[in-house]
Amino acid sequence: MIPIRVVVQAGPFDVAAEIARLKAAGGAGAIVTFTGVCRDEGGRLQALELEHYPGMAEEEIGRIASEAAGRFELAGLTVIHRYGRFSPGDDIVLVAAASLHRQAAFEAAGFLMDYMKTKAPFWKKERLADASENWVGPRDGDDAALDRWRK
């Protein structure tokens, strides 16, 4: 079994430390990271609030990560998803995948993000500069993105 690390936390993460951790586990020739960052939505966004389902969030991400570990030849996999209040530019999510050859790490990171977008129990509420607020709806592309992974 490869090392799988899943963390759901309020605080920030350290990409360099997570890469170093994956390298320390050995067997890595390629490391792909995805960092999801709070957008400013063209200056409209003041803050983003991320609500999550404690317990299920960790478990569901763990299930997606295990599925990725079964599909792709990985040396290690790390997923960190933050919750709470974010300003534009703040990091929200990190996926880091290590593999011997590059294709597996790229595919695993893409797979993780596609599944997390529609299966991980997190919900975004935007607080806008005009003091209004609204729950973010699902993107049309997110369901389509899943289709390419259907076996």
Partner: protein, 83 residues
């Protein structure tokens, strides 16, 4: 059974969670939605568009035909927007 609500489902119902005693005829997630809608205008409003509501039973995604027998916690929430 414990029910938990998230995002705008939580806001519309006005509760984060509650304990309920289900009538015997409520045996699936779909039955639960119908029963909840009869409990008042907040529930009616939260569940007005049943197609968009998502469910989890004991922390695992579930469909409307999922039986409730043995379930400890059922969650109702809108489509997820994490990542």
């Amino acid at each position: 059974m414990k029910l938990v609500y998230f995002a705008w489902v939580r806001e519309r119902i006005g509760l984060t969670e509650e304990e309920v005693d289900l009538p015997a005829e409520v045996t699936t997630v779909g039955d639960l939605v119908g029963w909840l809608k009869s409990r008042g205008p907040e529930y009616e409003h939260a569940l007005a568009e049943p197609r968009v509501i998502r469910f989890a039973v004991d922390h695992v995604h579930a469909q409307r035909d999922r039986p409730l027998a043995g379930a400890r916690e059922v969650a109702l929430f809108p489509p997820m927007t994490g990542g």
